[in-house]
Amino acid sequence: MIEIISGSFKKPVVANDLKQYFKNKENLEGRLWFGYPVIGGIEGATTIDALFVSPAYGIFLFDLIEGNKIDDRSEIQDQLINHITARLLKKKELARRGKLKVEVNAITYAPACRTKVQEFEQENPYYSYAATREELDIFLEKNSKDCKGLYPLILSVIDAITSLGKGHKRREIKKKDSKGDKLRELEKSINHLDFQQEKAVIETSDSVQRIRGLAGSGKTIVLALKVAYLHSSNPNWDIAVTFKSRSLKQQFKDLITKFTIEQKGEEPDFNKISILNAWGGVSNPGIYYQFCTENGVQFYDFNSAKRLFYKDIPIPFDGICQKALDETSEMSELNTIYDVILIDEAQDFPDSFMKLCFSFLKVPKRLVYAYDELQKLNEESMSTPKDLFDFDLRNPEDGTRQDIILKKCYRNSRPILVTAHAMGFGVYREEGLVQFFDNPILWEEIGYDVVEGRLKPGYRVKLERPDKYSPKFLESHSDLDDIIQFRAFGDKQEQAQWIADQIKCNLSEDELQFGDIMVIHPNPRTTKSQVGIVRKILFENGISSHIAGHDTPADIFYYNRSIAFTQIHRAKGNEAPMVYIMDTQFCNNRDLSFGKRNILFTAISRSKAWIRVCGYGDAMKQLVKEFDRIKKNDFTLDFTYPTKEQMERINVIHREKTKDEKKKIKQVKQSFTDIMESIQSGEIQREDIKPFYMELNKMLGIKEYD
């Protein structure tokens, strides 16, 4: 089966012909791109009409001729071959004595120019032309070269992400199989995009496109690559990319620069690419700010937004985006700046912001948004494209996919990811599930296979992550017991001492570097004071540490030779090979709203290799027990799918409570306590309130005792 990816191409008739030709070859394995990659040239960048790479056949470039006019194509073929060859030669494993081990072949395909083709072939036999499929067959066979071993490497060059591997810190490894050694091997693994990721990068519709996937499925890389590709192939477009986490700004800038250089051979023109925060302000451009200034709408900064909306809308940003939209809905002609807007972390934005971006686009409105499938567990919580833009996503058989799901997770190994999901949902929790997907299809969409039972309410089901969505190399480096550990300590001092000792060991025997370690605290309110206990012990042992800053745009997450401590919100968007979570008991309080389980999920999914989940007290012991059940089930999810009634109850009990609701609950609890005390003290008799509690019993569905 050949994986076909269609970028922007301008010769639809002959391209489709070629596509059909390859589709008919059912037993052939390989990848076929249209309109990709981009190559830089003296007259600007062009895209390659078609490129085919196959482990059994090698590398083939197609120069396509639409229509019946054709000139001599030798120069063009030379150009194409030279460009791709130059790129491949950069990888030393692909070269031998200055030449490619797998040579690049080029052919001009011009089905409507039969006679001319024959002429050219005779005049200059060094350059190949074809006008029929049979001639293509002959060409492929004649030039085939087995390159199975080099295939992943070749793909990585074409994906233009070889630069991703670079920039890794040099490691001084003295001990074989130390954690540092294992990391070095992990880092070497060849990066190339999988089919879904490539589709997400290269295929762009002239409308909305949605990319969803788990944390760690490479969405940010995909978006950055997409920006680089769109910019290279459409240098006149004004492109904007926006996101919630501040840490992404620099990441995007670096990635887009790297990828553009790799594709086009030159730096991107940042006059045409805007990497913007969502909100923005006078000193710091943002989409909302630009929208306001371009369209003469009042701009609100955080303080004024909070003052305006503090009572009514939970998220001030939602309020001001909606306000901006309302004020411009009357206007007949909005100032639209962008040809395409890409939104990362869309799940963290209110609908009003999405709509604002949409209206800020020039026609055709190209909006690409990516979101973490699991930050909003109910599909309903993330508004559908239909709700947002009155638009149904389509995935035509032969066209650009508008709804792409990235199921493969590259950051977290299977045991870590399954643990994160199990804890996030409370699958093995003593008191039962905490939250659940509304739609069972989502399980498969995030990369789980049903191996036993069925995803139907009331039925038992067993879910597993197959290798193809959770690459084995992510977990094969260490024992399972080394990869994940849950530990309950007696008190906070014991926890602090253990973590500090472990970090000491990480930096010495384990040969890890300072930047390989992250310590996460789940409660932002108490982070600074609680992490102090561990940081103090580290300091007294000569190890510097810091609390990852959150107050300047030049946000440094890692300081040189210092261990990063962070609260959960700041940890988002970052990852580390060795992650410690401390005070995890916070995530298991009696008063369970699913927000705390989400925090646990986010924290666990920060780890690229090892994780230590620590806490103290009984609540932590319960979490340890919960994890033991995951282990016992071999990191599969084995449970009874909740019934509709059960699901409603889970949602009710565990939904996020607003401030007013919390206050009301507190008041009611206090009333109940007062009542109980009065009964105990004898002030009130049971008989006095019998009709009330009978009614209450009925309402709560509790059995009567009388």
Binding site: R246, N277, A278, W279, G280, G281, V282, S283, N284, G286, D301, F302, N303, P316, F317, P524, R525, T527, K528, S529, Q530, V531, G532, I533, R535, K536, F539, E540, S544, S545, H546, I547, A548, G549, H550, D551, T552, P553, A554, Y559, N560, S562, Q567, H569, R570
Partner: protein, 212 residues
């Protein structure tokens, strides 16, 4: 005295770490047996003497030239110079408090649950520096020990004597971190023996800073 001072700085640093008052820190070290400074110091502060405060602050922070980076972004620097001879006399000191200037503040949405009260109050940050120079001084013009407020060139408020680290920390905590001070410290922690007065009698007739 040199070792005591360094220990004072280290002890206070540990307390700041413990109570979550600082985001990042550098160990105080003794160089050439006569200088107390933070580990990793580079000459950046002298290079930036004539730059705007905003730039000074940014460069200082980015190059990690401080003893403490406080939770609100303020930088604290302590430098002491002692004589080389055995008597180890204090020759100079420079104790700075560099608050985060406006202009780099949050225009963005702060991450949820991170909002400090100060986000709603209009605090104008002003850098402070306690300088002591035992050797170059001029009665009334340039007191041996004085306080600089802001970047005013001739603002030198006379101070009664050199300031030891713990006294400086006491002053900073009480003045700018009162809530944290109350929650985690008591005044007793900071009281030490007085240092000999260096203020002249005519300077003492001006409005000045004194420790009784």
């Amino acid at each position: 005295m040199i070792r005591n001072f360094r220990n004072e700085i280290e002890q206070f640093t540990i307390k700041c770490i413990e109570y979550g008052l600082c985001l990042h820190q550098n160990k105080p070290i003794i160089r050439n047996n006569s200088i107390i400074v933070w580990a990793g110091e580079t000459g950046i502060t002298s290079a930036l003497k004539n730059s705007r405060y905003l730039e000074k602050y940014e460069e200082t922070r980015n190059s990690q030239n401080y003893n403490l980076l406080m939770a609100d972004g303020a930088l604290i620097q302590l430098r002491y110079l002692f004589s080389h001879d055995r008597r180890k006399v204090l020759i100079k000191h420079s104790l700075s408090f560099l608050p985060k200037p406006t202009g780099i503040s949050l225009q963005e949405i702060p991450e949820e649950e991170e909002i400090e009260e100060s986000a709603f109050v209009d605090i104008i940050p002003i850098p402070l520096r306690f300088d002591y120079d035992g050797e170059s001084h001029a009665d009334m013009e340039h007191p041996k020990s004085h306080l600089h407020i802001g970047e005013f060139r001739n603002c030198r408020i006379p101070v009664c004597s050199p300031i030891r680290p713990i006294t400086f920390f006491h002053f900073i905590l009480r003045s700018f971190y009162y809530k944290d001070f109350n929650e985690n410290f008591d005044d007793g922690f900071f009281i030490r023996d007085r240092i000999e007065k260096t203020i002249t009698s005519s300077e003492a007739k001006l409005l000045h800073i004194n420790i009784v």
